[in-house]
Symmetry: C2
Amino acid sequence: MHQLTVADVVREHRRSRAHVTALVDGEHRFNYAQLDERSNRLANALVAAGVGRGGRVLWLGVNSFRIVELLVACAKIGAVLCPANWRQSSEELRFVLEDLRPAVVVWEAGPLEAALDPIRADAPGRWVCHNGDGPDDYESWLAAHSADDPESPVSEEDPLLLLYTAAFDGHPNGALLAQRALLAHSMMLGAVRQVEEGFVCLDSGPLFHVGTMMFAVTTLVFGGTNVVLPTFDPELACLLIERERCQAAVLFPAMISQLVEANRGRRFDLSSLRFAPADDDWNSMITVDTSPWGRSLAGYGQTEVGGMLTYHALGLNGVGASGRPSLLVQVRFVDLDDHEVPDGEIGEIVARGPHIFSGYFNRPELTTAKLRGGWHHTGDLGRRESDGTISFLGPKLRMIKSGGENIYPAEVERALTGHPDVSGAAVIGRPDPVWGQNVVAVVVLEPGREVSGDDLIAYTRDRIASYKKPKDVIVVEEIPRRGFTPDYDLLDTRYGGGGYPGGQTNQQG
Amino acid sequence: MHQLTVADVVREHRRSRAHVTALVDGEHRFNYAQLDERSNRLANALVAAGVGRGGRVLWLGVNSFRIVELLVACAKIGAVLCPANWRQSSEELRFVLEDLRPAVVVWEAGPLEAALDPIRADAPGRWVCHNGDGPDDYESWLAAHSADDPESPVSEEDPLLLLYTAAFDGHPNGALLAQRALLAHSMMLGAVRQVEEGFVCLDSGPLFHVGTMMFAVTTLVFGGTNVVLPTFDPELACLLIERERCQAAVLFPAMISQLVEANRGRRFDLSSLRFAPADDDWNSMITVDTSPWGRSLAGYGQTEVGGMLTYHALGLNGVGASGRPSLLVQVRFVDLDDHEVPDGEIGEIVARGPHIFSGYFNRPELTTAKLRGGWHHTGDLGRRESDGTISFLGPKLRMIKSGGENIYPAEVERALTGHPDVSGAAVIGRPDPVWGQNVVAVVVLEPGREVSGDDLIAYTRDRIASYKKPKDVIVVEEIPRRGFTPDYDLLDTRYGGGGYPGGQTNQQG
């Protein structure tokens, strides 16, 4: 009786908000009664195609309202939806298919076909084209099945959403978010964003990413309207904000600049949009959001916590840049032995609570390791500040041990990039017979600037503990990277790194 | 790893909000670090006194910060706190003691002793006086136990709060609210009230009632400050609002009038208080609350749902007076056979979801009956309106069957009291050989008014279905009552009622 699933929430919306618009996408517009009915048909279609409880449904396409209705359909039968990153190569998509073994793949004809063609022929599972018009297309498939609620046995602990992330070994891992996790995260995000009745959100980022998905799910949970943008297009975004009176959107600074540009001459009325302030042009086009979330979009999060673990909005005047935790989690900072470190000291951020993920799909050992002791080990470093607020410092990756002291590269790198002449830094440990390891800084300078290694060492010594300061500084033109993080293995090879505690030398954390 | 208890929330607050004031009460002022430590000591004291998981702790006194810290202490060991209605007679308190069998009773010396004296002598359990100064007083008891977290095995499904309510047979029943229920309800209320960081709430109503307790718990969950008023005193309330910069309070219209009166001459600065508007005096003293909750405090609730089941704030412009359900519940309207009735028809309000109660303490049969089929049967009647919003109509009590049709007295009574000359109405069913029963209205007229029975019958026929209209109208001076509801059994005896379906004749619903 105390259980609640995403399906239950939509069932209630069908009754209490039947005529409220749930989804808008191009010509498509459905209210909650229609969403509930369509998700019933879809759920029955998925079951007929062999998707059982725990079965996987893969979405291969750009943003679409169908991702949301498939999510609700999966919620009704205890299945798992994976909206894949459509920007991936054929090889990457093949990996996802082989890893996920979906019983149903909903795919998109058109520009994405080039990447799909090499794998579609020999791939198992039922493939449904969502934008085709053949006899086997999505709408015919949906219409051919009963509108009755399947009323399958489903638990709120069943995983519902799978998002690939965390490519620890070069291949991504599928983080599983349970029905309850999505609801819990939505309640917290909705409280911080002060979502009210009649909320309309423009899903303007990719739904395969938790940053957009968390807003889409929160909008669904609060009975609001998801306006889906297939891919980001500033002109279309302006048009939809005006036409649908969107109150929220998922926007990064570069996207805001594009919207301001697209709205030169004030062709569109964007005043319904309540968003964090940016430049004067932006602030005068929109309504500045005064909710805690609007006052600061910052915080710390990752896919594995359902989106946001901490909100700067909960500690706006605090010391820590990442604010305070969601009210539905506990956060600790631990050392390598999983002992809690004192406030002010750096440790790995670990967390527990209802919106933490349920592990990685098909990775029992990794899951056991990440969730050891009943706490999710984020793989990120942070610190509890003197006022209880939290600072996220960077990925853990690896640790340097010098003179018996633990030194995290992220902390030294942050100190180095605080110097006005330094534009980038990566820190490695070099074996030393006396100290175990010495800290070595690899830095990139701002164009046209010059600064000596000794000056940089002196600069860091004023900002972090002396034992953490670099013993050597190497100036380079560019720091090699793997994705967003420095390629530490390559840096070790080039600059003599090694001797890490716990055999981390070859770990890309 | 996904579990979360009220104790966990306070454990996190100790880390993230150590220096935030948690409790203010007279000379007492404790921050979250102190609350966490005191609740550890209390939890260890309770265990030493024999309170195990599921054990009961009874509070017999007016409002105090100690109710909140005892709640946290109970949360840490899986025990149940019952803050009893201190206005009860000795006999009523004796019933509570015998029903609850608490291992620990925390009681208050002073004005309440007169009621407690007759039962204290022979009552079992350890009695601790919270405002005495003997060797066995509360503070000495607390201080004598370890400040270490007991770290007992506790589930979020464990009942934590017990509130007596629902005196179906003349004696109250203790509704059990689980740890998770309190957290879920707090997230929803906090979202509707738009509780932000730094929230300060004046607990100005009785903490033995869910209406005040739900705000105290929400304030605790959001890491805010509970300012506890022992009993309502308008002058002290004004002083505390000014001194503590209270943002919220639990106030009914009569209390608002008293505050306005106490603040004639604007002796106090009440501008920190964000509350729903009332008269001009009030509105100019406070800051009018623009949150959804501030726009309408209405809704439908009861102790058994954790407080509020529906919020008018979620359907402000809707047809139904009670708005829409909390996002964390499902609501249905069912007939006597538990079949869902169509929209627009009256049925019993049933509900499920994480903030519904866990049953009545020590009432297995009643609990089974109320929670049959996995839905809580509220015992109240309501209707889903055409736009999906909800109207609460009144207590179910009993049903009249006439010509095969179901007629709920509350609906006919509501129609009758809509007449300008009618001040009160109670409706019974009188056995009839043809129709099964006929509707009989017992009405009280406004002073000095006169209206014929035929006119009243015609009046109701224009407002409700014809088969529901009274066949007979009896004008009386006063309607006999049991508590707030008409004494239907006595009315049956006096005016020939009987023949109710399902043998309801002697049921005071």
